[in-house]
């Protein structure tokens, strides 16, 4: 303990350097914790995705439409139970700030294959019977204070889906999103694909087909069969499990996990180099002082411990800053588009103790690694050589 003051005094020698090192490393830990949390959330969401549901999309990408006629072909594939067209409408309610996901679906089969949307039979019937009807999640209803019977209008921001006048909807039901065992969103609106199809001139098929299959273990084989149906058509398809689709949707293009991990690793390694350079500089410019400490009787091990102690102080400070900042941001993740849906649907929200601990550990590890070489040099330095260089 008696050396703490001594270490703190040394760190105050060049405050700008110490503070900037702590902030740089703190930022790195912040990114590490935040990215780990995002990845955990995505992974958790994917684990929850239902294996018995496949998603068929245009092979060119999920923003391109599929023909209406494809539905019957998919339905005819052996092992397929139900098929529902789904289009991500991109409707804006009032303004962009109040945006929420809204999907045009074939309501009957879609609700049948999504038991996680818990809706009373009465509401379900009212929804299925009303072409202008829609159902909204409980979270959405609470946010906009909607109740059954209320009307609302949506205008899509996607050019082909834009109509002269906004689409009118009547809230026919409010469903509860059951997250246990299924990926589900607490902020979602569903309406009839037929209504969408009519109002957009009956020329745009759905962007995806959600396919329910009887046996989840046959997902790979059935996917191949579905895609083979369209191999020689003008619109080739790509079918995958809902989990894989959500993964590609979340990552938009490419491997989000790989990207985030690579970025985190690169950032951490960069900070390791910066910290190592800083620690080397700090030790190099104090060579004569280290020699004096040794002259006064400080052992090589004690001098090395003091250098490592300085690194530890930086690591602990950076770890605390990084974890606190990350905790703040992660707490706000539910308000973010796309990732927010996943976070809200996951069991645990906020920065987990494991991620915070890992972030803190990385901060300590990076600084100790960075200080190792300067500390060993301080350990091995000869008093007479160091004093002669003054």
């Amino acid at each position: 303990m008696k050396y703490v003051l001594f270490i703190a005094k040394h760190l105050r020698r060049n405050r700008i350097r110490t503070v900037s090192t702590i902030l740089t490393l703190g930022l790195c830990i912040f990114l590490f914790c935040t990215m780990r949390t995002v990845l955990q959330t995505v992974d958790a969401s994917l684990r929850k995705a239902n294996d018995s549901r496949l998603v068929t999309r245009n092979a060119m990408g999920w923003i391109f439409n599929l023909p209406i006629a494809s539905k019957d072909k998919i339905q005819a594939v052996q092992g397929v139970k139900r098929v529902s067209g789904v289009t991500w409408f991109g409707g804006i309610y009032k303004d962009l700030k109040s945006f929420f996901p809204n999907l045009a679906v074939d309501a009957g089969p879609y609700l049948a294959m999504h038991p996680e949307y818990v809706l009373s039979e009465e509401s379900k019937k009212a929804f299925l019977d009303d072409r202008h009807g829609c159902i909204v999640s409980r979270g959405l209803a609470q946010e906009f204070r909607w109740k059954v019977g209320d009307t609302l209008q949506l205008q899509s921001f996607i050019a082909p889906f834009r109509t002269k006048t906004p689409l009118d909807f009547v809230v026919r039901g409010i469903y509860d999103a059951q997250t246990d065992g299924h990926a589900s969103s607490d902020k979602l609106m569903l309406f009839h694909f037929g209504y969408f199809y009519e109002t957009t001139g009956e020329r745009l098929g759905p962007t995806t087909y959600v396919v329910e299959i009887a046996d989840g273990s046959q997902a790979g084989a059935i996917s191949k069969v579905i895609d083979s149906q369209f191999e020689n058509s003008g619109t080739q398809t790509h079918t995958e499990t809902e989990a894989a689709f959500e993964a590609s949707f979340v990552s938009l293009a490419g491997n989000l996990s790989f990207l985030l991990n690579a970025l985190t690793l690169a950032g951490t390694f960069t900070v390791l180099l910066i910290t190592a350079n800083t620690m080397s500089m700090a030790v190099r410019e104090r060579r004569s002082e280290i020699a004096i400490l040794k002259t006064l009787g400080f052992s090589n091990g004690l001098v090395m411990s003091i250098v490592l102690g300085e690194a530890l102080f930086i690591g602990v400070s950076a770890g605390v800053i990084g974890v606190l900042l990350s905790g703040e941001l992660v707490g706000k993740l539910p308000d973010f588009p796309i990732i927010g849906d996943l976070v809200r649907s996951s069991q645990s929200q906020g920065l987990s103790l494991a991620v915070a601990g890992a972030g803190f550990g990385v901060a300590i590890l990076v600084t100790i690694l960075a200080a190792l070489v300067p500390a060993v040099l301080a350990y091995r330095s000869r008093i007479t050589n160091s004093l002669r260089e003054v």
Partner: protein, 248 residues
């Protein structure tokens, strides 16, 4: 640690005090290696310093004065030969033991003071006591006493860059005596000071020798400084010349 008795009884005169040899340097050789070159610095040096003696090591630059001082103080090891100081054969100690021995036995005064710039005067003086099992208050009290002894208790909260050269050296002296060492080694203690400050520092060193019976070994170019010593030992190209005059 190996303690070696080095007491020698002077010829049997009842009133004469017992003479104790504090430092014994026996056939010490030292060389530095620069690249592939071996540069001899000390050549079979023999030296004895009595307890309570004030010895000045003088000689031209590069004669090996500082090297000999460093060897006696245990901050370097000779290529060959033996050094016994304060009853301990330094060659028998490990690096760790040697560090401990230094902290207990030797007080250091350097030409460039070598105070830690981020520590105040009192914190600098207190530094060697961090190695002792003392409370913070005990350390502070002793450091303040040492500063009072060198006449700088009113500057205890000042940082080295807020002190003059002479004051810095006096803080360094306070640091050197804080552990009550048997031997004080001083490497050109007045080399960086003006005449007045140099005299003050030399007065202090003389006081430590006369009033506190500290053994002082001082390397200097300054003839006035060397005159303060009981004995002057001359080094020339790594060879110690004949013994100087022992003043009364």
């Amino acid at each position: 640690m190996k303690a070696i008795a080095m007491e020698e009884t002077m010829p049997s005169v009842a009133t004469q005090p017992k003479i104790v040899i504090e430092v014994q340097v026996q056939q010490v050789c030292m060389e530095y290696i620069r690249g592939s070159q071996r540069i001899p610095v000390l050549d079979r040096v023999n030296l004895e310093i009595q307890r309570g003696e004030f010895v000045a090591l003088v000689g031209p630059s590069g004669s090996g004065k500082t090297t000999l001082l460093n060897l006696i103080a245990g901050i370097d090891r000779p290529v060959s030969g033996r050094i016994i100081a304060a009853g301990t054969d330094l060659g028998s100690l490990s690096d760790g033991e040697l560090a401990k021995w230094r902290s207990r036995t030797i007080g250091f005064i350097f030409q460039m003071y070598h105070l830690i710039p981020v520590l105040t005067a009192i914190e600098n003086v207190e530094l060697p006591l961090l190695l002792r099992p003392l409370s913070r208050k005990q350390r502070r009290d002793r450091a303040l006493t040492a500063l009072e002894l060198v006449g700088l208790s009113d500057r205890s909260r000042h940082y080295p860059n807020q002190l003059s050269g002479g004051q810095e050296q006096r803080v360094a002296i306070a640091r050197a005596i804080i552990t009550d060492p048997e031997i004080i080694v001083a490497d050109e203690p007045t080399g960086d000071l003006d005449g007045k400050s140099a005299n003050e520092v030399l007065d202090l060193i003389s006081t430590l020798n006369q009033d506190f019976q500290k053994t002082i070994i001082m390397v200097t170019h300054d003839l006035r400084a060397a005159d303060r010593a009981h004995t002057q030992r001359h080094l020339e190209k790594g060879v110690l010349l004949e013994k100087g005059v022992l003043k009364d």
